[in-house]
Symmetry: C2
Subunit: 195 residues, 2 copies
């Protein structure tokens, strides 16, 4: 069975959400980060950088939430072509690198927000999900990042109603609620920690 390592306020919640969407069973291992469990040899053998989330699937040890999402998509959701796979990858990178990067850095935030949100708002006004009619791993990655923007950074998205409606739609998905139910009580959002 898949083994997913998490900790308080970890991005592992994003992976849990996607695993619930896929209906794939997994074992959740909660590390006590305050006690330094993520820096013990046991876990460093899984991820030498000592970061969660990390996934173990047989011989594969994988870290980086975006890479874990894309691996699960590849294994269980099977993109039909390398072009479709590339699109999924583009949105995961957009979420974890561009969106999180530019909005976390205070000096770039104000200028970046409309540049990122305007095209996103336009796209989501035309179709329910990022790639069209179907929910994909792209929505998990971008949805989690947006929910972080809205929740933790408290940025005002009222000028982008389609983005707001999209975040609302995603949060109403049963798999999202199931993942949130499994969260530790201190974690307020699926992407409560930037790293």
């Amino acid at each position: 069975m898949l083994k997913l390592y998490s900790g308080a306020r970890s991005r592992a919640l994003i992976i849990q959400w996607y695993l619930e969407e896929l209906g794939v069973p997994y074992e959740l291992v909660m590390l006590d980060m305050k006690a330094g469990q993520h820096l013990q040899p046991d876990f460093l053998a899984v991820n030498p950088f000592g970061k969660v989330p990390a996934l173990v699937d047989g011989d594969l040890k994988l870290s980086e939430s975006g890479a874990i999402l894309l691996y699960l998509a590849q294994k269980y959701d099977r993109p039909t072509s390398i072009e479709q796979q590339a699109q999924l990858c583009q949105w995961v990178l957009f979420a974890n690198s561009t969106l999180m990067g530019e909005l976390l850095i205070e000096t770039t935030r104000e200028r970046a927000l409309p540049r990122l949100m305007r095209p996103l708002n336009q796209r989501l006004g035309q179709q329910p999900f990022l790639l069209g009619a179907e929910f994909t791993v792209a929505d998990v990655a971008v949805g989690a990042a947006l929910s972080f923007v809205l929740g933790t950074l408290q940025l005002d998205l009222s000028a982008y109603p389609h983005v707001q409606a999209y975040i609302g739609r995603l949060s109403e998905r049963p798999a999202f609620a199931r993942a949130m139910d499994m969260k530790p009580p201190t974690s307020p959002s699926p992407a409560a920690e930037p790293a």
Copy 2:
């Protein structure tokens, strides 16, 4: 033929380096960002976010440097399994999300540097490239990010000699030099711009 969109000080240089490694011909389109060419309808049809690099390959329009790298790896370098593909993806995300993210944010930089560099130094003391004996797209992504750290952020990496030697080895590769020769004269490094 592949069409790669770039601009002054763009991450497109990273893609050029990898295309030179692969020996894949491509057409380079330099946008005049100062004149706002990246915000004109022609280019917004390629990438609605108006960012370079962007790649056009037939019907596929792809943005995000990490996604472009992984697409090219998938198409031309053909990872042998989804597990190997996942490892490549992990290192690209590590470079573009974790490494760039944590080191660009001044408040996290000092604490993040040893946590990121120590395991990297250990790994590169045991093997010449990130995945072992062979150069892969992981080295392009991480190498470019490290060269940015060293060049633009001017962080001191002297405590991590294997990382320094690795950056040196990468910069001596003929494909790297060929890509740098094609750079516009104002671009000092393969990753001169964070976004």
